[in-house]
Point group: C2
Chain length 259, copies 2
């Protein structure tokens, strides 16, 4: 029963970020899957779909691993069978977001019913970030809730996070706006992951990172950033040192602060 | 019914921090109470008890406001009636923590039973930080869970947070260790609150801040830091600017990051 329980409830303490800027989109996810300290594995949480020159679609997911993978498998099967609406023929990303929401809510609901029958009370929902561009439209970034509904990023809300999002939110709030350039977004994303990983052991390296340039309609290669990546390493140490330097440069608190 | 519901569930999205260092303790809490956007009030979340020269005890609380206030009132009534064990005669802070935990769990449990009878399903638990020093002992800092049990700070874990703690944790993780001085702790606490307040509207200024010096056994005056406090203002702007400067000084991401 323990083995079954671990499998059915394998719950990602994922951290994923999607940022939509005027020049392109920056997507990043950690790769750790956690079902207790004795059971930590590395799974990919970022999925790519595309037709060169016509559409590029990226999906990241957090939550129940079985639900997330079932949704991705169903999306892939739809493409293979090429009957009805699927990611490679759906007219708009908005409809793709609705499709993912429907699959996700259905899968979680089925698992919940089975779980209720065996009196297992787990978390079976998943959330998704859907990013991409279809010819004739601008880039779109959606967050799909576990209930199946969705919201999309605007110029005022240029980024979404799913999973363990709070530790890494302040730096994104401060550093990112719609006009930020891609290099700056990459820097902020690395710092955001570093803060999260330092504060929560269940989010871990490596990080999958992918940059899509506006109107390129080419599949980015992406990069898997391991803990020993030299650029990551330099960012982390410069950030740590820089923060302590700012704190040290602050004026001394006035006497009434210590009264 | 709406009025009743708001009162019984008035739930603090508080943020409180307690730090125990070799030279003393730094305690801080926000003052906002929130039961929906149309119903935000300012309440004190930090309580002081003491006998000059003999003991100083400080309590901060987060969670259900009715539960928190009931516990504080009961602690005060015990002192007034001066029968049995109360905060001003309890031999150790460890026993004080157990007392608070018992009162808190009992209060929440009673409310839950009443709520179940009227089919109201709310959050009635509170958490507490208890800090202080009793003559003959070192300074102690406890976190009391809503179930009534507690943990205490050690040299390896010099700070506790309750309430909306994640946004403001990374800076404390980086900046605070047992040997940090009080000035540095104050600076880090202000930054931690600033990050939290920027990321979550339900935590708000002013901040109550109090510094207790090791072995002083005097009641600190404390300070209520409003949003227009000049020192806070300078910290906030130096921090914002400093962070962006670090990000800007980072090397350009290598080409494989944008491939």
């Amino acid at each position: 029963m323990r083995g079954f329980s671990l499998r059915s409830k394998n719950y990602d303490m994922t951290y994923c970020v999607g940022i939509r800027l005027k020049d392109g989109m920056v997507l990043a996810s950690d790769t750790r899957t956690n079902a207790g300290v004795d059971h930590i594995s590395t799974f990919k949480k970022m999925y790519r779909f595309g037709v060169a020159g016509e559409r590029m679609i990226f999906i990241m997911t957090a939550g129940n691993l079985a639900t997330s993978q079932a949704v991705i498998n169903r999306l892939r099967r739809d493409i293979r069978q090429d009957s009805g609406t699927h990611l490679l023929n759906v007219p708009t990303l908005s409809e793709a977001a609705e499709l993912i929401g429907r699959y996700s809510a259905q899968t979680a609901q089925q698992t919940r019913q089975t779980a209720a029958m065996i009196q297992d009370n787990g978390s079976f929902g998943s959330t998704f970030l859907l990013a991409g561009q279809i010819k004739g439209y601008g880039m779109r970034l959606y967050m799909i809730y576990q209930e199946g509904n969705n919201i999309y990023a605007t110029c005022d809300t240029p980024f979404f996070q799913i999973g363990e999002s709070k530790y890494g939110k302040p730096i994104l709030d401060r550093a990112i706006n719609h006009n930020s350039n891609l290099d700056d977004a990459i820097r902020a994303v690395l710092v955001s992951f570093d803060s999260t990983i330092r504060s929560n052991l269940s989010v871990g390296f490596p990080i999958d990172l992918l940059v899509y340039r506006n109107n390129s309609f080419t599949m980015p290669q992406g990069i898997r950033i391991t803990e020993d990546n030299p650029y990551l390493h330099s960012i982390r140490s410069q950030w740590s040192q820089g923060l302590l330097d700012i704190l040290r440069r602050f004026d001394t608190p006035p006497p009434e602060y210590l009264a």
